[in-house]
């Protein structure tokens, strides 16, 4: 059942990300000089924007001279303040800290440019008028605020990971994750997220073939970016060394396990069990059931899968159950589960796959 597991691993972080109609041309590598030039221009613009934003924002009681890196950190936290709507947080972060222009952000999220521009204007106005402070939050607020920043960066990454793939978004997310890791080196989950996006990004060239997702187990591993996998593993080690476990470090651990020659399913199922404790969700439970099936056999996996509540409308639950039932030679039940999955499958790619499985059963 690597198939469903791998697909779930690919897809489940994208829950909540806006769906994208229409195909997108896979971005090719850009001219780096052009990139750098644009970033420098953007940075100059952003420094100016920051200065204006600071004029507009009410003076904090603890105003002090800050260097540029600290200003960027303050800016990240202001952009990701919970008083701003999630889509505004994302747009603002990409606009003020990322290397993307307003038209680029609008295109990336398939939103009309005037809408995106208005979203940015309103968000900046709210920061000014409602008194959202431009500062690193005090210690007692820091954990939840860091989580918000990490969520925004991960959302950007997933929006770019696709399909369709939008390289510029993934690149921005990697940059922001690296920046945050430099500015907050003592935060374990910051390294966890950094590791996670590196390890996932490493598979970018193998994930999509002819515009369609390739399941992890079927990917051409020679296309994986070995250097990024190494970087990801080191980032994970930095996080783990701080002895403050969390969901991003666990997900990175799972991604790291998958990047090895042979996936260590026992370790992966233990990581999913920990993840289920820290960040419970039925999709995590499903991933865990599939991993347990790989480690301990289909009966053990099925026992877990049957305890999951709330995923009745999710085709992968039924596809996973179908496969486990098939492996247990319970063909009639497997067929019924494949039918359920077929009825719920979101597109032709999945339907074709499920129909093949169903007809294999009936042979």
């Amino acid at each position: 059942m690597q198939d469903a597991f791998a697909t779930a691993l690919e897809r489940w972080p994208r829950d909540g990300v806006p769906t994208n109609p229409g195909a997108w041309i896979i971005a090719t590598a850009r001219n780096r000089a052009v990139d750098r030039l644009r970033r420098e221009q953007n940075l100059a613009r952003k420094t100016e924007l920051l200065a204006r934003l600071q004029e507009l924002a009410p003076a904090g009681a603890d105003d002090e001279e800050t260097t540029l890196p600290d200003e960027r950190l303050e800016l990240i936290f202001a952009c990701c303040h919970p008083a701003l709507a999630a889509d505004a947080q994302v747009a603002l972060t990409l606009s003020l800290l990322g290397g993307l222009t307003t038209p680029e952000i609008a295109r990336a999220f398939i939103v009309p440019e005037p809408t995106l521009a208005q979203r940015l204007v309103r968000a900046k106005r709210k920061i000014r008028d409602a008194g959202i402070p431009l500062r690193v939050p005090p210690d007692h607020l820091l954990p939840e605020r860091i989580r918000a920043v990490l969520a925004v960066i991960y959302l950007v990454f997933n929006a770019g990971y696709g399909p369709p793939v939008r390289r510029e978004l993934c690149a921005e997310a990697l940059r922001l994750a690296a920046l945050l890791a430099t500015l907050m080196p003592d935060e374990a989950e910051v390294h966890g997220l950094h590791a996670l996006v590196l390890l996932q990004d490493a598979r970018r060239d193998a994930r999509v073939l002819d515009g369609e997702l390739v399941l992890l187990e079927q990917q051409d591993r020679s296309l994986w970016d070995g250097a990024e996998i190494e970087q990801g593993r080191r980032a994970l080690e930095r996080g783990l060394a701080l002895r403050a476990p969390g969901p991003y470090q666990l997900q990175a651990g799972i991604a790291a396990a998958h990047s090895e020659e042979a996936s260590d399913w026992v370790r992966i199922s233990l990581l999913y069990r920990r993840l289920a404790e820290l960040a419970p969700s039925p999709v995590v439970d499903l991933n865990r059931a599939v991993a347990v099936a790989m480690a301990d056999g289909p009966a053990a996996g099925l026992a877990l899968a049957d305890r999951i509540e709330g995923l009745d409308g999710y085709y992968l639950l039924h596809a996973a159950r179908a496969d486990l039932l098939r492996r247990l030679d319970r063909a009639d039940e497997a067929a019924a589960a494949y039918e359920r999955a077929l009825a719920l499958a979101p597109s032709d790619v999945e339907r074709d796959f499920l129909r093949r499985r169903l007809s294999d059963l009936r042979v």
Binding site: P58, G60, H81, A83, A130, G131, P133, P137, P138
Partner: protein, 120 residues
């Protein structure tokens, strides 16, 4: 900056709790008021009489229309307010989070408009 904290809650919830629980909540309010005053942050605040006492006034086409009831019939009704001084939204949020009604209702935080030489 000044912020208006609008306290919305379900009146039936208040009616359904015991006298002891109500006294405990009033003690919390009392402590909150003392802390706000002590830090020079309290500009104004009041508990409002129940929504059944509300009257709405509208002027349409030169006519004064007076009707029984609040601006909008909602499950959570406006039950009180604080007008406070705070340096940042985060500070206003911290005060709002101490309002007992936040635990089952909603506190809306609105910054006031600063008019030059204006009223506070």
């Amino acid at each position: 900056m000044q912020y208006l904290l609008l306290i919305y809650s379900d009146e039936t919830a208040w009616e359904s709790i015991s006298e002891d629980e109500r006294r405990a909540i009033y003690r919390e309010y009392s402590q909150l008021n003392d802390d706000l005053r002590g830090r020079g942050k309290l500009v104004a605040g009041d508990e409002l009489q129940p929504v059944a006492t509300a009257t709405s006034v509208r002027i349409r086409k030169g006519e004064t229309l007076v009707s029984d009831g609040p601006f909008a019939e909602t499950k959570e009704a406006l039950g009180g307010y604080y007008l406070i001084e705070a340096d940042t939204l985060d500070e206003a949020i911290e005060w709002a989070a101490r309002i007992p009604s936040a635990r089952q209702g909603t506190i809306e935080i609105r910054p006031t408009v600063a008019h030059a030489g204006g009223a506070t």
